[in-house]
């Protein structure tokens, strides 16, 4: 029983991390029609920033670090979008290739800067003690992480559905030309959303640090998971990213625990089913 509960919680916390990663990817894709392959690298960059900051300054708050790393990664993403991606406006293929090139540059730069060994990220001290609920023992940090992801989901939902910025983003997703025609600054909106997506990924990287730790190849591990989540949930849909993240979180965690060698195959079965019967994804409105 303890096994199932612990693995269930692990699944939820991985799902939460995947949501922080894939929600930004999905938003960027929905608005900009851009498959941002740098997204895994943004996540990894966040983890490395977090690991470095937390190890350098004793007693630094994890949440402050996550916020700081998120802002730094968002700024980097914004620069990349302004300097490179805007030049390739009418060339979606070129944009993807550039994001791939950028992913290679970032991951190699991380390898050069931080070396090949994995760097553990310390769990905050006040969250190290396990929590007891109904006689079962839970690692507190993972519980908090799930809470964070749900909080982020609610905040994003409110941002998209209830604010003026969100209304502009929705207009841009639905009909970019019409949005431009009624005076929405779509180009600035692109930069904003790209920064937002990159920032969430960077902050998610810090929060994932205590579980995953920072290591070279983290980006290559996370990016396919994000792709599968987004393909499964539907591109551009926040709800799809949310549901897809937790589905993949469960499948991947239980797959790894029960059939460690076949985890990757099990991971890709739901994707095949969804593509076969619902190519636009579970909650997607538009085909890719």
């Amino acid at each position: 029983m303890q096994f199932w509960i612990i693995q269930g919680l692990n699944s939820l916390s991985l799902g939460g991390l995947l949501f922080l990663l894939s929600s930004g990817f999905s938003l960027i894709f929905g608005l900009m029609r851009l498959a941002n392959l740098t997204h895994g690298a943004f996540f990894m960059l966040g983890t490395y920033f977090g690991a470095t900051a937390l190890r350098a300054f004793d007693g630094l708050n994890l949440w402050v670090t996550a916020l700081g790393a998120g802002i730094v990664v968002a700024a980097l993403g914004g620069l990349f979008e302004r300097l490179v991606l805007t030049r390739l406006k009418s060339n979606p293929l070129g944009q993807v290739l550039v994001t791939l090139g950028m992913a290679f540059i970032i991951s190699d730069a991380c390898l050069a800067l931080w070396g090949g060994d994995s760097i553990p990220v310390p769990t905050p001290q006040n969250l190290q003690a396990p929590t007891r609920i109904f006689g079962f023992v839970f690692p507190t940090y993972r519980l908090v992480l799930v809470g964070c992801a749900i909080g982020a989901a609610i905040a994003l939902y409110l941002l998209i559905e209830r604010t003026r910025l969100g209304a502009m983003i929705r207009a841009g997703v639905d009909d970019r030309q019409m949005a431009r025609a009624v005076g929405i600054p779509v180009s600035n909106l692109f930069t904003t959303v790209f920064c937002l997506g990159a920032g969430i990924a960077g902050a998610g990287g810090v929060l994932g640090g205590p579980i995953l730790s920072a290591y070279p190849g983290l980006d290559a591990d996370m990016l396919p998971l994000a792709l599968i989540v987004v393909i499964l949930g539907g591109i551009g849909s926040l709800l799809g990213a949310f549901v897809g993240s937790f589905i993949i979180g469960f499948i991947y965690t239980f797959g790894t625990a029960l059939f460690p060698e076949l985890a990757y195959i099990i991971l890709f079965l739901p994707m095949i089913f969804v593509i076969a019967f619902r190519p636009q994804g579970l909650f997607g409105r538009v085909g890719a």
Partner: protein, 311 residues
């Protein structure tokens, strides 16, 4: 006239091992392998308008099947080669069914995800694939009793296979099927209205490209006598895609030029700098931003800009 041009072009290629050292002959063999691989990817990218970021799957699958069959099950090279090409072609047929549910960026993401799944399998299923250690101690085949262990003999073997590949792929794209493929790339709706089946045309092309990807994978594993999960990685797919785009996609010569450049760059750069992936990324940015249509048209444009005149 074309025959003379062909002879002038072919003679140095055939004679190459007589006047070059082993190092350069081996480099040339690697270029031939990369060229077949790039040409097969170009069928998808250039002629089919399907940008795949998972083409290394087919290279890796063929190489792994051949390596496993010859070492673990002690099969002969002939049978192992047949089975691995058949296995790769089947994999391509299966992946095609999944990936071709989407087009454009969706297709790209699905091919990337599928190839990452294979990469993960090669890494994690260590009792079969030997994981991060790779499979070493492989041998080269001995076709008709001719040993391929010397640099020159392997070069000629690769040259023969590459020539067959080039001819077969040229025939493919210049056939009426090739025309319908280009039609589907440019105007899928009109082609459908004319009674063509765009999906079937794309799928057949995908399988054919997978077949030649598998052939290059076989040559790859014969050449290196070793296989490691990195040959299935995104970097490997991206190198080939860079070659195709750098040389000029949708042309027959372009991918060969591009693949040659990427391979030479990789070989020479890795002698001086450790950071091949970073260089690869920078070259990607440079090519896409400065020469988006490939080297040959890009050079013309650059020259025009340097002369200062309006294009």
């Amino acid at each position: 006239m074309t025959r003379i041009a062909f002879a002038i072009l072919a003679a140095p290629l055939v004679m190459f091992p007589f006047f070059a050292g082993d190092f350069y002959v081996n480099l040339a063999s690697q270029i031939l392998i990369a060229a077949i691989f790039a040409l097969s990817l170009n069928l998808l990218v250039g002629y089919g308008g399907m940008t795949s970021l998972g083409h290394a799957s087919f290279l890796g699958v063929a190489a792994y099947i051949s390596a496993l069959l010859t070492t673990r099950y002690g099969l002969g090279h002939g049978l192992a080669a047949l089975l691995s090409i058949a296995g790769t072609t089947l994999t391509a047929a299966f992946f095609g069914v999944i990936a071709l549910r989407a087009t454009g960026l969706g297709f790209l993401m699905i091919t990337l995800a599928l190839s990452q799944v294979l990469w993960g399998l090669a890494y994690r299923m260590s009792n079969v694939t030997n994981g991060d250690n790779g499979i070493a101690g492989l041998t080269r085949p001995v076709p008709f009793g001719i040993s391929l262990d010397s640099a020159a003999s392997f070069y000629w073997f690769a040259l023969i296979v590459a020539s067959i590949g080039l001819v077969m792929m040229t025939v493919f794209v210049s056939s009426s099927f090739g025309s319908s493929l280009k039609g589907v790339r440019d105007q899928p709706r009109r082609m459908a209205a004319l009674g063509f089946n765009p999906w079937m045309i794309r799928w057949i092309t995908f399988i054919y490209a997978g077949f030649w990807g598998g052939v290059s994978g076989l040559l790859y594993v014969y050449y290196h006598k070793y296989i490691h999960p990195t040959s299935l990685s995104t970097t490997s797919s991206a190198e080939a895609l860079l070659g195709v785009i750098a040389g000029g996609s949708g042309t027959l010569g372009g991918p060969v030029v591009g693949a040659t450049l990427v391979l030479l760059l990789k070989n020479y750069a890795s002698a001086y700098v450790e950071r091949w992936n970073m260089l690869l990324g920078l070259v990607f940015l440079f090519i896409v931003l400065v020469m988006p249509t490939g080297i040959t048209p890009g050079l013309h444009r650059l020259a025009a800009r340097l002369r200062g005149g309006p294009r």
